[in-house]
Symmetry: C2
Subunit: 334 residues, 2 copies
DNA sequence: TTTTGTTAAGAAAGCGTTTTCTTAATTCAG
DNA sequence: CTGAATTAAGAAAACGCTTTCTTAACAAAA
């Protein structure tokens, strides 16, 4: 059997509450007893039982993160950041994959409810009503990452990329660099808020600069290499005048686009500049990709999670700061 | 306040143990009461408190996975697989990053000890004595993934890639394909058991086929793109007769090697064949990489974890089955 | 002195379950 | 029928902590 607080109390010849006080640094206990307790704790290698403690304190020191797909490099990176922050706050991170199945997500959330986690970060898209209802059941702080609820007021604090402004900045940047014919390949904008906002940012930047956008310059495919490939192919086949630059809704799309361009002997960035989004492939892709990187995601998420203790009430929509990274998949256009 | 088992008992007009029996499907309870209980549970949206349950059952339904780096794609993929298996067994996966710092790993393991997890998978390299000592403290099944302890008898059940045989097979395969001058670029073999075994497999295959291996054909760098780049560079610069094929200790190394070759205008696989390891970059890398893929990792790990309940005693070293995948970074040599 | 206030530490209650122990009710063999 | 065996369900204990309540000891103020 594991050693319990009573064993320590007996060994140190003090009462159980005294041991508890020493361990938690709460209450007052004389130097003499404190030392005796600490000695016993070390001697017997005592570890407080988290379940017993949790039962009474109503905390678990666990932060849950539910994500669609842990193998997505962007997700994995954010998890890494969250984990690092949790560590600092003496919390432990519990992650669950929901495989983009809201049904599975609800199943998982039920499990987490039983566990009385101290905080929940839900990194998901396709938020539907049953899912939101389940999220409402949590009494701990809940944060939506990746996708907000469009409807208006924030029911949950939401933290996402600043897709709209970033897409505008990227497009502006390309225009500054002399590009005039700029196309866009994004993901499905019906479901993905990010997709919608990126497209909007691109469109607004073009419009504000008085630039024409033929419908054939806009493609909405999948957020994947295949999607990018397909989108670029369609643009290539349906336009006599090719764009000199393409804004992509994700790095994966950019990779696919570049791969297609290579297949028809067009060179990037010599013939066409390609801009990505997410900074997900920087270290492995053959071309250093110009892209947008969101910063301090883990910190911002955790900060929201922990800050809320005081300011429970205020739910807001927060954006990660971002950097527009100009690398070698784009160049000036003359 | 959350609704408790007592609330359900009161609402259903039964005793607390009866509710417990219904929920756990244990013991005997009449159809009538069972229905009353179920109705109350649903009506009041009751969720049993995991901490209270865990306190008494000494189980937590949590499987802990401690890994060096969650952003490593190979790791992320295995986590995905483990999570899927845990789900099937009605367990929840708790993951912690230890950032390749054994000190941090020990800190995390202490936290997990407090939590009385039902199983532990430690995916790490550089296992040193303090770390092993900490692992011994667990009373639940502990599995070492990724690296075993060389010493001999298995203190912990260990599951790893079958690096030795796979490297032999890869080398054999290249020899069958007509290659005679085959080089090897691996990671640091002092620390990484996998590195050591892959090198050994390569060497044995060469020897058994009566093929010469000049020392300048063997490089041990980092398990990274830079490492592969550097290793290939050295081989290129130090050999008048270049190899016709290179066995790499990881896909990252292979990517680096290919990148170097491209930089000196050598074509893969036309001029040189390159074989990777891990199947980590298949979808994004420019060349479909011939590589080794380990299979069913999640299943095998979980199977070991859960099987052990009965056969606690037997610790063994188990290998994932693997496939040698011939793709387009290698070709026959005439 | 006596009273009041303060502090250190123990006693006891309680957190929400499961499990063991009892009891009452029912069935069945003799 | 009676007594033993079986069954369904409640009472009570236990899990390992934290927290509240209480007491004893002592110091400071009247």
């Amino acid at each position: 059997m594991a050693v319990t607080i009573a064993d320590i109390a007996a060994d140190a010849k003090v009462s159980v509450p005294t041991v508890s006080r020493v361990i938690n640094g709460a209450g007052t206990v004389s130097e003499e007893l404190r030392e005796r307790v600490i000695r016993s704790v070390e001697k017997m290698n005592y570890k407080p039982n988290a379940a017993a403690r949790s039962l009474i304190t109503k905390r678990s020191d666990v932060i849950a993160v539910v994500e669609a797909d842990i193998t997505n490099p962007v997700t994995a990176r954010i998890l890494w950041e969250i984990d690092a922050c949790c560590m600092k706050h003496n919390k432990i991170m519990l992650t669950c994959n929901y495989d983009s199945s809201n049904e599975k997500a609800i199943f998982l959330l039920d499990k987490l409810l039983e566990r009385h986690v101290d905080g929940l970060i839900f990194m998901g898209v396709h938020l539907d009503e049953p899912l939101l209802a389940k999220l409402r059941e949590f009494s701990c702080p809940v944060i939506l990452a990746q996708q907000g609820v469009e409807s208006g007021e924030c029911e949950f604090t939401t933290v996402t990329d600043d897709s709209y402004h970033a897409a505008r900045d990227v497009t502006d940047f390309l225009i500054q660099e002399g590009h005039r014919r700029i196309a866009y390949i994004g993901g499905d904008a019906n479901d993905y808020t990010n997709g919608k906002l990126r497209l909007q940012g691109y469109l607004n930047a073009m419009e504000e600069n008085g630039l024409e956008v033929p419908a054939s310059y806009i493609r909405q495919e999948q957020f994947s290499i295949e999607g990018g490939h397909q989108g670029m192919k369609e643009i290539y086949e349906n336009n006599l005048k090719l764009p000199s630059a393409v804004v992509c809704g994700s790095d994966m799309i950019a990779v696919g686009a570049i791969r297609f361009l290579k297949s028809v002997d067009l060179s990037v960035p010599k013939d066409i500049s390609v801009f990505g989004f997410d900074d997900a492939v920087s270290d492995i892709f053959e071309i250093p990709l110009s892209t947008v990187r969101s910063c301090k995601r883990g910190e911002i998420l955790c900060e929201q999670l922990f800050k809320k203790q005081e300011e429970q009430g205020k739910k807001e929509w927060i954006y990660y700061p971002y950097q527009v990274l100009r690398r070698n998949s784009t160049r000036r256009h003359q």
